[in-house]
């Protein structure tokens, strides 16, 4: 039972949350702007981390948390003034505390000296406050309560204590409501034990409470404490015992008089003990508890050992077995405490694996449901009306179930947003700029994986905004802007996706510089006429990161191309909109979940593919005059006044029996995340469908031009196309009627076969 180590994980989880709370609070703490609620929250966070740490023996951590807490206490009592230096120290202390927790989590000691510097800094603040000239620092006078002498001595030791007065009051209250002598429960015997120790009992090292506790172990006991012999305080000899007790014990018949006598074995000479027993009414014994009949001689007012002495010996088992019980009441208690279950929180913590299995199962169910729907589609409606209606409902429920299950994985983006104030603070410090971060929409929810993968891109983009976007305070003043630049980070749901925007009111993208860099790096042909938007988008090109950009802040070898790659690997898109002199806005648009995708099913020959709906602009059937063949065997098409490169999927993937002539098939106009367009030549569009994403990499291997796979309603495997990948492939001449089939793609005939195979495997798995 004393193994509290099982709570370590809870402790670490909670501590991580508390650290975040403390950090958020510390970042808002500024001289002249001290919110006491905030300060209290920080204090409590550190205090709780310390308290829990003590329970697990993380002594170093506790020692450090104590230093931290002491200074926070000073801030709380306004004995330590809030200065920028203090806030810096406290933030550092919070970091060190996080480190200490990490070491504790790993079960290793922190390297010696980990806390030294910070402890010294904390103490400096403490000392400075202690030697502050102002005498007005009013330490609260010793609590007035101590002036009132307690009427009764406290029953205390190092770890705990009970105020004498309170104990006496409670005991008195109990005395009033004296043992209610109701009927004895069937099959039980009620013992009444009056225990009057001599006053000197304690001098023999005996502890009456132990005996009372021992009695309680024998059955259900009610103990009344009598205070009538308690002297007034001035007459009280603390080493003498002035109390006596009446214990009402409801015990099994096996618990004989001997067991009760045993309890008082060592003190029998030092006390006056009267023991009486009552059995239930005989009728009750006969009807309800036949086994008790064996020991039934336990009649009222027994003053001699019960005849059940022998069985009592053997019956030593039940009470001994008691300590094993604790595990059970915990489970049972959960049920009985149910009325208050919602009191502390309406949340439960669930292992992520369990949720993922659930998500997976729901995915499978969606597929199965689609399959069934597919099979019954051809049934004559009149005959199977009820079946069809039932299936319609099933489809509805399945959809709702899936949405609900997906939402379990959803998390507010606040966990990422909350890290940004600190980043901004650091960046501002490094660049000497004044920056205010404004966030909105922190509670917007999105899949956990998306949230987790947002940290790096956002970090990078905010750094960029501050480093490159915002001007120095002086420069801002010169151009008539407030000295403090603003970075606005927002999140919102927009048509089934989450849109995150990072807006700054800085100088905007310097297009001339970007263009000259791009030309210098050979990314753009000299003299090329690019629109403003196109120039802005150059910053996402791989290798664009320029020497000018390298500063100790954002120049860490990671360019915006990496940001774009990260975002697109999440099925997201990134865009930039900039106005010179007014600022820039970066827009990230991400799917809410990575488990399902809204797609358009298309056919090419015998194959089915899924195109993510977000990539699709429109579909059209071109007229012959819209099509233009180019010398390099690349076709283009005039669509809405723009030339668009055509990609014949059947050529790219080597699919037989497909329509080659775009005027006979369809062209699906798609757009990649960077805004460039492609026309995909397909046979037919079969319809829109939400599909469950199955990783191709984990089941097969990565394929160029393919993002993932899915299973369609008819059980066939369809590949989900990666539009950006298709564009890359087509650039390298994959879309070439005479060209070699891309080596990375498996021979097509194997696909339908493997698809069917896969279905069976799935079902048996």
């Amino acid at each position: 039972m004393d193994d509290l180590s099982r709570f370590k994980q809870t402790y670490f989880d909670e501590s991580a949350e508390l650290l975040a709370v403390a950090e958020a609070g510390l970042l808002r703490l500024a001289p002249g702007d001290v919110d006491m609620d905030e300060v209290n929250a920080i204090f409590r966070a550190v205090h709780s981390i310390k308290g829990g740490g003590g329970a697990f023996g993380f002594n170093e951590l506790v020692a450090f948390a104590h230093e931290f807490e002491t200074v926070m206490d000073g801030v709380r009592n306004a004995t330590i003034p809030v200065t920028t230096a203090l806030v810096d120290t406290l933030i550092r202390a919070n970091d060190v505390l996080a480190q200490m927790l990490a070491y504790a989590g790993e079960g290793t000691d922190a390297p010696p000296g980990t806390t030294d510097g910070t402890v010294a800094a904390l103490r400096r603040h403490l000392d400075a406050a202690a030697h502050a000239p102002e005498e007005a620092v009013h330490t609260p006078a010793p609590a007035p309560a101590s002036a009132i002498p307690p009427a009764f001595p406290d029953d205390e030791d190092d770890e705990a204590g009970i105020f004498g007065d309170a104990l006496a009051a409670i005991a008195a209250a109990r005395d009033e409501g004296a043992p209610a002598a109701g009927p004895v429960p069937p099959g039980k015997i009620r013992w009444t034990v009056v225990f009057r120790p001599k006053a000197e009992l304690l001098l023999s090292g005996n502890e009456p409470t132990f005996m009372l506790r021992a009695l309680r172990r024998l059955g259900e006991a009610e103990i009344a404490c009598h205070l009538d012999r308690l002297p007034a305080l001035r007459d009280l000899d603390a080493e003498l015992l002035h109390l006596h007790w009446t214990v009402t014990l409801i015990a099994d018949p096996e618990v004989g008089r001997e067991r009760i006598d045993d309890v008082f074995e060592f003190v029998a000479d030092d006390c006056d003990i009267r023991i009486t027993a009552e059995a239930p009414l005989p009728a009750v014994i006969e009807t309800a508890a036949p086994p008790a009949a064996e020991t039934a001689p336990a009649l009222p007012a027994l003053t001699q050992p019960a005849p059940a002495a022998a069985p009592a010996e053997a019956a030593a088992q039940p009470p001994a077995a008691k300590p094993a019980e604790p595990a059970k009441p915990r489970a049972a208690g959960n049920g009985s405490g149910g009325e208050h279950a919602g009191l502390t929180s309406h949340t439960i913590r669930v292992d992520l694996d369990k949720i993922d299995r659930l998500v997976n199962m729901v995915g499978e169910m969606v597929i199965t449901q689609a399959m069934v729907a597919e099979h019954v589609r051809d049934l004559p409606p009149g005959q199977f009306q009820e079946l069809l209606e039932g299936l319609e409902q099933l489809a509805q429920h399945t959809r709702e179930l899936r949405e609900n299950v997906m939402s379990i994985r959803a998390q507010p983006v606040s966990s990422v947003f909350s890290r940004m104030p600190r980043l901004v603070r650091e960046c501002a410090g490094l660049t000497g700029k004044e920056v205010a971060l404004v966030t909105s929409g922190e509670n917007t929810e999105v899949d956990k994986t998306v949230v987790e993968n947002l940290v790096d891109p956002l970090t990078h983009m905010i750094r960029n905004s501050i480093d490159h976007g915002l001007e120095s305070p002086d420069e801002r003043e010169r151009v008539g802007k407030p000295r403090t630049g603003t970075v606005h980070l927002s999140a919102q749901h927009r048509s089934g996706r989450i849109v995150i925007e990072i807006t700054d009111d800085g100088r905007g993208i310097n297009r001339a510089k970007v263009l000259s860099k791009a030309i210098e790096k050979g990314l753009v042909a000299p003299g090329a006429a690019l629109s403003d938007e196109e120039v802005d988008n150059l910053i996402f090109l791989p290798g664009f990161s320029t020497a000018d950009q390298v500063s100790n802040l954002s120049g860490r070898g990671v360019g915006m191309d990496v940001v774009r790659r990260n975002i697109s690997s999440l099925g997201g898109r990134i865009g930039v909109y900039s106005t010179p002199g007014e600022g820039s806005r970066f827009t990230l648009s991400l799917p809410l979940t990575l488990a399902v995708l809204d797609g358009m099913v298309i056919s090419v020959g015998e194959e089915r593919f899924v195109l993510p709906l977000t990539n699709i602009v429109e579909s059209l059937r071109p007229k012959p005059e819209d099509l233009h063949g180019l010398v390099n065997k690349c076709d283009v098409m005039m669509a809405r006044g723009e030339y668009v490169r055509l990609v014949h999927l059947h050529r790219l993937f080597g699919i037989p029996k497909a329509i080659d002539d775009a005027t006979k098939g369809l062209v699906v106009l798609v757009e990649t995340e960077d805004g460039s367009r492609l026309g995909l030549v397909v046979d037919e569009i079969l319809g829109q469908q939400q599909v469950v994403i199955k990783s191709l990499e984990s089941n097969f291997r990565r394929l160029e031009g393919v993002a993932a796979a899915t299973i369609l309603g008819d059980g066939r495997v369809a590949l989900i196309l990666d539009v950006a990948g298709l564009r890359e492939m087509s650039r390298h001449g994959g879309d070439n009627p005479g060209g070699p089939r891309p080596a990375s793609f498996p021979a097509t005939p194997s696909l339908p076969a493997s698809a069917g195979h896969d279905t069976r495997q799935r079902q048996t798995a």
Binding site: M1, D2, L4, R6, F7, T10, Y11, E14, S15, N40, A41, F43, R44, H47, S48, K50, G51, G52, G54, A55, F56, P140, P142, A143, P144, A145, S146, I148, P150, D155, D158, E159, A160, G161, I162, F163, D165, A166, L167, A169, I170, A173, T209, R213, R216, A221, E222, I223, P326, A327, P329, R330, G333, S336, G337, E339, H340, L343, T344, S345
Partner: protein, 121 residues
Amino acid sequence: MKKKVLTVDDSRTMRDMVTFTLKGAGYDVVEAADGQQAMTAMAAGKVDLVITDLNMPVMDGLTLIRKLRAIPAHRTLPILMLTTEADEKKKAEGRAAGATGWIVKPFNPDKLVSVVQKVCG
């Protein structure tokens, strides 16, 4: 009948530990994360003992104790406070507010059980 203990602490870890320890000792335990929630819990059903942390958001432990003592039905209710150290000032404040006793945390589970048994049986 099992005695019901209300444990009031803003730290989930601490609540979990108190709950586990006391359930193991045969008590029913309900939890509250601050004084306000504790007041609600007290109104919701009979509680035989309150164990409260002192430093909590919304409503702190001492306020909770004072509020409970102001209710006639809870005048003799045992209330233990959890303090981080044997802090004499806090103890005095607790006594003045009407606490029954104190337990220093981190607590030894056996100690907690024995104190709880002393004050509430």
